[in-house]
């Protein structure tokens, strides 16, 4: 018998027994759809986070005070919190490999206007900040160098602050209060939503010189800057300068060992995200694979029923000259064909659901786009084939081993 005959028979049988075939592979359909859907959503979420990282720009560099954590990643913010000073910032500004050095001081105070109070992230920074993060104003202006020099009490505020403090009012020119001091609103930021689990629309940006005077300190909480050329050169220069200024000596095998500051780039964030999302994809695929195996048991059950139902047909085929191998192949190919068709349906269903989720989520998260994970899709298809082959084998062997006379007499 030719393999083409076997395939023709398998497709024919699946077509003739449409509803039974569908029931057979329901588990496979759900399993594959689950893999496609969940890894697709994962891909979309990855895109959202990547988008946020990319708003920082590929050349952006961030620096925090504090030693490197024991595993190399975590910050220990409670030691060396005063390690990065205003003079360090001035020295960094002399470097040619970085530009737009923007020191940041955080004021942990809410903002208020009259009786209204709003939760706010109050940041004192220089106008360089606006260039480092892609921010825009919808009305008014950013603060500028003259505001810095004059230490003017002005504020650029996020849209959520406007909503909380000035509902229905024109915010520009109003004087809001932070920690007992009055600030004149000169600009309103464009809404950007949540980035890195922080609502960016509750920001209040005031001149760095003012924040420094309010807090009466000469160290900063964070600094951002951009590399002018190769980002690695920028990072190396910043680290070299900081170690030199702080008198830090470390063995060449672990140059960051004694650092009291931490430098991170968007690229590193990319890498971390890549690792996390790969781990998630593998995890999701494994979970969904369990449903494929359960689906395989479904296939085996229905195939066994089908073998019993078709006992006479098997007897007839044997009487007409089919060898054991022919019968085995017939049922095995049928199991694989039905499983593969089920996997294709699952694939289509998963893509469709993924797409529907995009339509819904986009209303809330405009940066959420349709995403699929082709690797996971391929793996789930291959697994489905394997399941069809594995769980189809027992019923097929049972069919092949039937005695033709008994099978022909079977009622």
């Amino acid at each position: 018998m030719y393999i083409r005959d076997t395939l023709t028979m398998a497709f024919r049988d699946v077509r003739v027994h449409r509803s039974r075939s569908l029931l057979t592979v329901l588990g496979i359909i759900i399993g594959v759809a689950a893999v496609v859907l969940m890894t697709g959503v994962g891909k979309s979420m990855e895109g959202v986070i990547l988008g946020q990282i990319n708003t920082l720009g590929p050349t952006s560099i961030a620096m925090w005070p504090g030693a490197k954590g024991p595993e190399g990643g975590a910050l220990t913010m409670n030691t060396d919190f005063d390690a990065v000073t205003v003079r360090d910032i001035e020295a960094l500004r002399q470097l040619e490999s970085v530009t737009g050095v923007a020191p940041m001081i955080l004021l942990g105070e809410p903002a208020s206007y009259g009786r209204e109070e709003a939760e706010a992230t109050v940041v004192g920074s220089t106008p360089d900040l606006y260039g480092n993060q892609s921010v825009e104003v919808t009305s008014g202006r950013f603060h500028d160098a003259s505001d810095e020099e004059g230490a003017r009490p002005v504020a650029v505020i996020g849209p959520d602050i406007v909503e909380d403090l000035f509902p229905g009012l024109e915010p520009l020119g109003k004087r809001l209060e932070i920690g007992g001091r009055k600030f004149t609103v000169i600009g309103v930021l464009k809404a950007v939503g949540t980035q890195f689990f922080q609502n960016q629309d509750i920001r209040v940006i005031i001149p760095f010189s003012v924040a420094k005077a309010v807090k009466q300190r000469d160290y900063v909480d964070m600094a951002t800057m951009r590399a002018t050329g190769d980002i690695a050169d920028g990072v190396a220069d910043v680290e070299y300068l900081m170690r030199k200024r702080h008198g830090i000596v470390a063995p060449p095998s672990d140059p960051t060992k004694n650092d009291d500051f931490l430098v991170r780039t968007a690229e590193q964030a990319h890498d971390i995200l890549g690792t996390v999302s790969l781990a998630l994809t593998v995890f999701i695929t494994m979970i969904a694979s369990v449903s494929l195996v359960v689906g395989g048991i479904g296939i085996m059950n229905i195939m066994l029923v089908s073998v019993t139902e078709r006992t006479r047909e098997i007897g007839l085929r044997k009487a007409l000259g089919a060898q054991q191998r022919d019968i085995l192949l017939q049922f095995l190919v049928e199991a694989v064909v039905v499983t593969f068709l089920g996997a294709l349906i699952g694939l289509a269903l998963g893509v469709l659901l993924d797409f529907l989720i995009v339509l819904i989520v986009q209303n809330y998260l405009s940066t959420y786009h349709f995403g699929l994970n082709p690797g996971a899709m391929a793996v789930s298809l291959l697994m489905a084939l394997g399941v069809g082959l594995g769980f189809g084998l027992y019923p097929a062997r049972k069919a092949a081993a039937l005695d033709p006379i008994a099978a022909l007499r079977y009622e």
Partner: protein, 243 residues
């Protein structure tokens, strides 16, 4: 040297074993059937006639004794060899037709060709059409099996048994599920095939059916009790070519 008979058995025995309990079914069967013969194996149910047909048709094996097919001993043959012989040299017509459900006459008739090693895909269609023409079912070639009458079903089954051009056609109670009119049509078909040179072995419990053959081998309790050719042979229908 004389040609050996097509089918020859020498002291053929068959027993079934159930939990080590032996149930003998056939004793000492010695038969010779020549090429082109039309033989009826007749006996009541439980006589062992079906078991004998299964052995002669390579669906079962004897417990002892010899079965020679065209002079070749068959006891050493493996499962696959027996399947090969069923595919190429013998064929069956069953009491309950055994057509594949929801399948056209053409596809049913082509079915044995799937397992025939020497017939190419290209030849299948033509051979099947020829076999269907022989039994007069060309106008029903695309009908599905459940759309046929009983007599038409059995004629389709006969076409299926012809399509591989076997040495022997075994017909196991071919009229058992048919009304008398359809039964006559089927017997007419078998007699026509015999006239055209086919070897036919008919298994039946009815004397009237058996009398369509040239020779009747009577089986009782697993033994041949009579083997005669001296009866008045019945001729089904007008005895002319099939429509």
């Amino acid at each position: 040297m004389t040609r050996p008979p097509l089918i020859q058995t020498v002291n053929l025995h068959k027993s079934y074993f159930n939990d080590d309990v032996e149930t003998p079914v056939l004793h000492d069967i010695n038969l010779a059937i020549g090429k082109g013969d039309f033989v009826a194996i007749m006996g009541p149910s439980g006589s062992g006639k079906s078991t004998l047909m299964h052995i002669l048709g390579f669906l079962d094996r004897p417990t002892a004794g010899q079965y020679l097919f065209q002079g070749e001993p068959t006891e050493q043959m493996g499962e696959d060899t027996l399947a090969r012989i069923r595919a190429t040299r013998v064929s069956f017509v069953f009491q309950s037709f055994n057509l594949l459900p929801r399948t056209s006459v053409l596809e049913n008739v082509m079915l044995p060709l799937l397992y025939h090693p020497a017939i190419t895909v290209a030849e299948r269609h033509e051979r099947a059409v020829r076999a269907i023409e022989t039994v007069g079912l060309l106008d029903r070639i695309d009908y599905l099996s459940h759309q046929l009458s009983g007599g038409q079903k059995q004629r389709a089954a006969i076409a299926r048994s012809l399509v591989t051009e076997p040495e022997v056609i075994f017909a196991d109670e071919p009229t058992g599920n048919l009304d008398s009119h359809s039964g006559i049509q089927v017997m007419e078909a078998l007699q026509t095939l015999h006239r055209e040179g086919h070897t036919i072995i008919l298994v039946t419990h009815e004397a009237a059916t058996a009398e369509h053959a040239q020779r009747i081998i009577q089986i009782h309790d697993g033994e041949v009790t009579a083997d005669r050719s001296d009866f008045k042979r019945r001729v089904a229908g007008k005895g002319v070519a099939l429509k």
